[in-house]
């Protein structure tokens, strides 16, 4: 019995029948056989055991040989939590709900000519800007969303000009993004984007047949317009200033290779294989969590394996969701991805100023509102002050209650340092901020991905080396 070491605070969870995953407070992990873990926690692991040294250098245990471990751990925890002091950096402005597409998976857009009903007004934009620059964040990103935001391009121009003028005094690192389907983009719009360093984020669901089926519009040419728009925008702004995002539908699930091939063919550096959205009728059927998540996971892992295969054949390409998680697993940095952080990123990392002057805690929060649930409505830019909106119970209660460090089943989970909390998702699917994790599609999906990534790295050192390049 070697009782000469002290156990640090750490968590462990079962990976499979044989192996356990241990994580320290800074998110460093080790995979150990059950027997080794057992002797470690019983203070029976001899210092001559090869694992002992690795447990010590990763601050799972402290002993007389060194007393610097706690300082190093504290520094790492501080580094990971550093983003919190910056507060909200991503500010989404919904400049119009109108859209010439009629995608069935979109909960928010309107086919309407009525500008007054569905476009944001200049007065509302002014008020939103005043709130945006009250954020203490040294970096401010303003993202124009819709509907199709380019249908209200004059307002985008106005906001960009005004934000730049305000920023002459405010001195933030200021960035603009337009999320657009590119169907109505013009040379003049791109010239403006070039002059003001505006990034373009577009939608691309995969090959033409899938994309056009997912994204109907008059002329049935959404894909053709998107691809032409991508080329044109790259030419005007620079290749890396145009990104694309896919939405996964039931029709996508059997086509993951084709979708990835499309992104590779169009020379994108990676793809974000997004989960099925719970914001729609799917959420109301009880089968959502189990059935859809499992089918999606098959799709996701097939895609992940395919991308690793591409990497091994010399094609540099990433899956961005895995890359975000790998940054948490393999680096001392916190990627700051809104949907996978704890405390939840709602409001304090990203916030939405809707066309109608209402302020929502996240993009999903406004979709939930479109479905009739206004839980995450934080206020109105004309009626509420910054302190009222960002200090509201509507924001602070869900953040506090869903904090993974204290939520039931999350607090003791070894994967918690890689995970996040999503009170909007759990409100949509289970009716409360925390949710029962055994029934949570969020938990099931993320846990499955964490385990798969760790398993891949544990079995194959070359996969770990590839993943390290994704993470950094």
């Amino acid at each position: 019995m070697d009782d000469t070491y002290q156990l640090a605070y750490f968590r462990f969870s079962q990976l499979d029948d044989e192996r356990y995953v241990l994580t320290n407070q800074a998110g460093e992990y080790l995979v150990l056989p059950r027997a080794v873990l057992a002797s470690f926690v019983k203070h029976e692991l001899p210092s001559t055991h090869p694992v002992y040294s690795r447990l010590r250098s990763r601050q799972f245990l402290f002993d007389a040989s060194s007393n610097i471990g706690k300082e190093l751990l504290a520094l790492k925890v501080r580094t990971k939590a550093k983003r919190l002091e910056n507060f909200t950096s991503l500010h989404i402005m919904v400049v119009s709900l109108r859209c010439e597409h009629s995608c069935p998976y979109c909960q928010v857009s309107r086919q309407s000519e009525d500008r007054s009903a569905f476009d944001m007004s200049e007065e509302t934009a002014e008020q939103a800007l005043a709130l945006i620059f009250q954020s203490p964040s040294p970096a401010i990103k303003i993202e124009f969303q819709g509907g199709e935001p380019l249908l209200n391009f004059p307002l985008i121009q106005h906001v960009v000009h005004r934000a730049e003028a305000i920023n002459k005094v405010a001195g933030r690192s200021l960035q603009f993004v337009i999320t657009t389907n590119l169907a109505v983009v013009t040379d003049e719009i791109l010239e403006f984007c070039r002059e003001h360093s505006v990034l373009i984020s577009t939608s691309l669901d995969g090959p033409a047949t899938l994309h056009n089926a997912n994204r109907p519009r008059p002329g049935k040419n959404s894909y053709e317009l998107a691809v032409a728009g991508i080329h044109k925008a790259r030419l005007a702004l620079g290749h890396e200033r145009v990104s694309a995002l896919m939405t996964t539908t039931k029709a996508s699930l059997s086509l993951v290779r084709e979708i990835i091939d499309e992104y590779v063919r169009l020379d994108f550096p990676g793809i974000f294989l997004r989960p099925l959205s719970p914001y729609g009728f799917a959420v109301k059927t009880k089968s959502y969590a189990a059935y859809d998540v499992d089918r999606w996971l098959d799709f996701y892992f097939e895609g992940l394996n395919y991308i690793l295969e591409l990497n091994r054949n010399g094609v540099p390409f990433k899956e961005f969701y895995a890359a975000t998680i790998l940054t948490k697993m393999l680096t001392p940095f916190e990627p700051g991805y809104v949907d996978l952080m704890s405390p939840a990123g709602i409001g304090i990392s990203a916030v939405v100023y809707n066309y109608d002057a209402s302020v929502y805690a996240s993009d999903e929060a406004r979709m939930l509102a479109e479905m009739g649930d206004k839980t995450f409505l934080l206020g109105n830019v004309h009626e509420n002050t910054y302190a009222e909106i960002f200090g509201s119970d509507a924001l602070l209660d869900p953040i506090e209650q869903s904090f993974a460090g204290s939520a039931p089943m999350c607090a003791e989970c070894a994967y918690e340092p890689f995970c996040g909390s999503d009170p909007v998702f759990h409100t949509a699917t289970q009716g409360d901020f925390v949710g029962l994790k055994t029934r949570s599609g969020f938990c099931n999906r993320n846990m499955s991905i964490f385990k798969r990534l760790i398993d891949l790295m544990d079995r194959d050192v070359t996969a770990r080396e590839l993943f390290l390049s994704w993470a950094n």
């Binding site: 250098s57 007393n67 300082e71 190093l72 680096t331």
Partner: protein
Amino acid sequence: MTGQADQAPNPEHDAYLFKGQAFHSECQWVVTFEEHRPEAERLFSDRRLVVLPQEFDYLSEGDVIRFVPDRKAVRVLFRKDANANYFLVTERCNHLCLMCSQPPKDVDDRWLAREILDVLPLLPATTPFLGITGGEPTLVGEDFFDILASARDHLPNTPIHILSNGRTFKDKAFAERYQAIGHRRLSVGIPIYSADPEVHDYVVQSKGAFDETIRGIMNLKSVGAEVEIRVVVHKQTYEGLADLSDFIFRNLTFVDHVTFMGLEITGYTRANMDKLWMDPYDYRAELRAAVQYLAAARINVSVYNHQLCLLDGSIHRFAKRSISDWKNEYVGECATCSRKSECGGFFSSSNLARSSHISAFH
């Protein structure tokens, strides 16, 4: 020493270097070699003449020597054309590393620091690099800061690299004072041999060294100093390279450079060959993994003192020609090698133990 007519000498401290060329000098001192003695004695009968043994004939213009007439002692302190000049500040050290190339002596050698303070003002402002080494140079206290302040004043554009075990910087005030010197190109190279404190402490033969060194690095980075971590690869350290690179990335992400060094067969290494020596070819997999890990983590990483033919091809781009020019040599096999000019070659001491996998690139 000055040898050129078109360069105005400073008669107060410059000596004229006579190698048989045309006469020109305002200098009171003239330095020459045995082969030019008769001519020099004739030409410079009214000057103070120093005739050096022929073995010093590599000396050239811009070099600095110390000559003590009473003791007939000559020391070469600085060579302008050398690729690296190192000043030894003290032979005292609080480590007794198994592979120390400069075994420490517990003596009062404060004269060494004084001599450096004398030399620094004589160096050309264009000096491309200057190393400060020991022993443990921080142990000389005030003299350490005086040397750095002099370097700041006389060599403001010269990169100054200090080799230290970092322990003295565990005192935050010492680190702050160091940074306050304000030399713009000051950096310090600090060894960490393992992520395991017991292994590190064993290699440096000093209990508690690991903690103090890590704390020193943290203090140096917190005041904004430039820090390089140096890892000597040998039998005691190669197995831990993967864990060490992981430890560095996770805990000391903020360091500026990580370098992996080959073993130099000199000093204590000779006595500890059984504990240290292994064919570098046999640790190539561990070294490759560590280097690639740090490179993927976007940490600036280099490999020093390794022959290219012993390194995995994927890390050739991290290999630097680093062996001081007076130390490096090549072997027969190297004669036909197409990459000899990129390769660091061998330490001249390496004939004591050499890889059996040296092979020329064609």
